[in-house]
Amino acid sequence: MSDRLPGFSTLAVHAGAQPDPTTGARATPIYQTTSFVFNDADHAASLFGLQAFGNIYTRIGNPTNAVLEERVAALEGGTAALAVASGHAAQVVVLQQLLQPGDEFIAARKLYGGSINQFTHAFKSFGWNVVWADPDDIASFERAVTPRTKAIFIESIANPAGSITDIEAISTVARKAGVPLIVDNTLASPYLIRPIDHGADIVVHSLTKFLGGHGNSLGGIIVDAGTFDWSTGGKYPMLSEPRPEYHGIRLQETFGNFAFAIACRVLGLRDLGPALSPFNAFMILTGIETLPLRMQKHCDNAKAVAEFLAGHPAVASVNYAGLPSDKYHQLARKYAPKGAGAVFTFSLKGGYDAGVNLVSKLQLFSHLANVGDTRSLVIHPASTTHSQLDDAAKIKSGAGPDVVRLSVGIEDKEDLIADLEQALGA
């Protein structure tokens, strides 16, 4: 038994999964059941009291989901993970462990639009106050820190424009402030960036995107890096104080460096309820087995498409960190040397009408509101997701009338370029 570190692709196939003990099934079975029998009353009591490892009820844990959790924890280099129903659910569960009403968290201004909505409106009604900072100006994070700050939230590669965030610089701010850094790693996936290696304390994903990878299943996950000391100063009572829900257990003391993942499960998922269907977990696990192959192809295709667009006369500009001329190219070389992801924006000289025209003429690219599918996807934010905003607000959020967002799939790049060429041409 040597302690040998297997590579990423080996972990993507094997981590968390072993042949089923009862049947020998080699693929991970779908344990499509709500509940699990107890051996006897003492076993039941041990499970409910968190004294034994095992299954109770699928809202708290499920064997199929557990394989997915260990798989993603291994790929991210974390101590443990918790799978939930969606990326958004992951964000709620994480912040519920960290914030009390009246507390604040700092979030990068460049985020998925849905997260901006969630933070601005839904979380405000819980009394969790977001304070925005600019990921291109690290000092703006420092200025935003107050005694009520409980966390910092950023995206590794930011949706929609594919910009790269300086995770290490922001993790230094978080450490100084004594708060955990949460990184949404959805657009990079651990194949391109492992935020924990750069100082993240918690990683969240929408599994709906590249990890599942096939556009067929919603899911989300929380990865505990095992790096944050929750015991100091009573700042994180969900972790450091005796929990009345569990007869006075202190989670950090009992579970050590995976206490945060346990808190998310037994205080978050158990009580808020956004459980992932075991069927979705199975679909996402199957997707993850090919993550390294798919992600490389996504990136290689995206680079080819970005280069084509940058040379096209109808295109005003391309924002893709994989291009040497891009503002974020140096950060991309540092954080994502294998590729700068597959989601990026470009703008058209013909403005709003040209955007609408392009989307309507594309034959292979699908016009829809998602990213990270095997299929290539396109959206014109100004006429869809951002259509409620006035022009000034559209431009500020990176969704000006001339902006088009692509999520480049794993088809043959020649076909993708040909599709864009015909749609841009006439």
């Binding site: 038994m1 020998g24 004294q51 260990e70 291994a74 101590t79 924990i196 890096a225 050590g256 993942a261």
Partner: protein, 194 residues
């Protein structure tokens, strides 16, 4: 031994070889971590002895409490110390008076005393600090995977279906020793600060 990151083989060797474990600071309160660990290790077949002078005359899951290690009256393989770092040294000194000496001194999650560890190691006792034997057993057997924990082991073998009271195989392929690199670094920084 590098106490910042234990190779899995070190932990595996200990958990595979010891049979009797005296738990110093064992608590009868069923939400205390020592109770969790005591119950789990007893269920997995270890011969558990609770040591706590405050509870002599009572028993823990059917095992009578003893006041001190010297009251056990028979050889023991491992002493598992559930005390804060500042209370470790006297316990280790007491261990060093036992005859025969135990093979292993284990200090619980959060507990670490490098000077005490060096004393024990100088007489050939293996030392583990700032780890929980329940968590390590669950991790190396992958039983802990039910809770989404990264066991950092892989196996393509079909394991027997676990039942209560069964010893589990700890001989899976390890994915890098000790904890994850990031959590090891964090623990090291913390112990250097304190």
């Amino acid at each position: 031994m590098n106490h910042d990151a234990y190779p899995d083989n070190y932990i595996r060797g200990i958990l595979n070889s010891v049979k009797s474990i005296a738990m110093v600071g064992a608590s009868p309160v069923n939400v205390r971590p020592s109770y969790f660990a005591f119950k789990y290790l007893a269920q997995r077949g270890y011969d558990m002895i609770p040591v706590n002078p405050g509870h002599v005359g009572k028993d823990l899951l059917g095992k009578p409490f003893v006041a001190s290690l010297s009251d056990i009256g028979r050889p023991i393989d491992m002493v598992d110390i559930f005390r804060n770092s500042s209370h470790i040294l006297p316990v280790v000194e007491e261990v060093l008076t036992l005859d025969p000496l135990p093979k292993v001194i284990w200090m619980q999650l959060g507990a670490r005393d490098d000077a005490a560890a060096a004393k024990a190691e100088s007489v050939g006792i293996k030392v583990v600090m700032n780890r929980c034997p329940k968590i390590e057993y669950g991790r190396l057997s992958s039983e802990i995977s039910w809770m989404g924990v990264n066991s950092r082991t892989l196996s393509s073998k079909r394991a027997p279906a676990p039942t209560q009271g069964m010893r589990l195989s700890l001989n899976r392929m390890s994915v890098g020793g000790g904890d994850t690199a990031a959590s090891d670094r964090a623990a090291k920084n913390k112990s250097e600060q304190s």
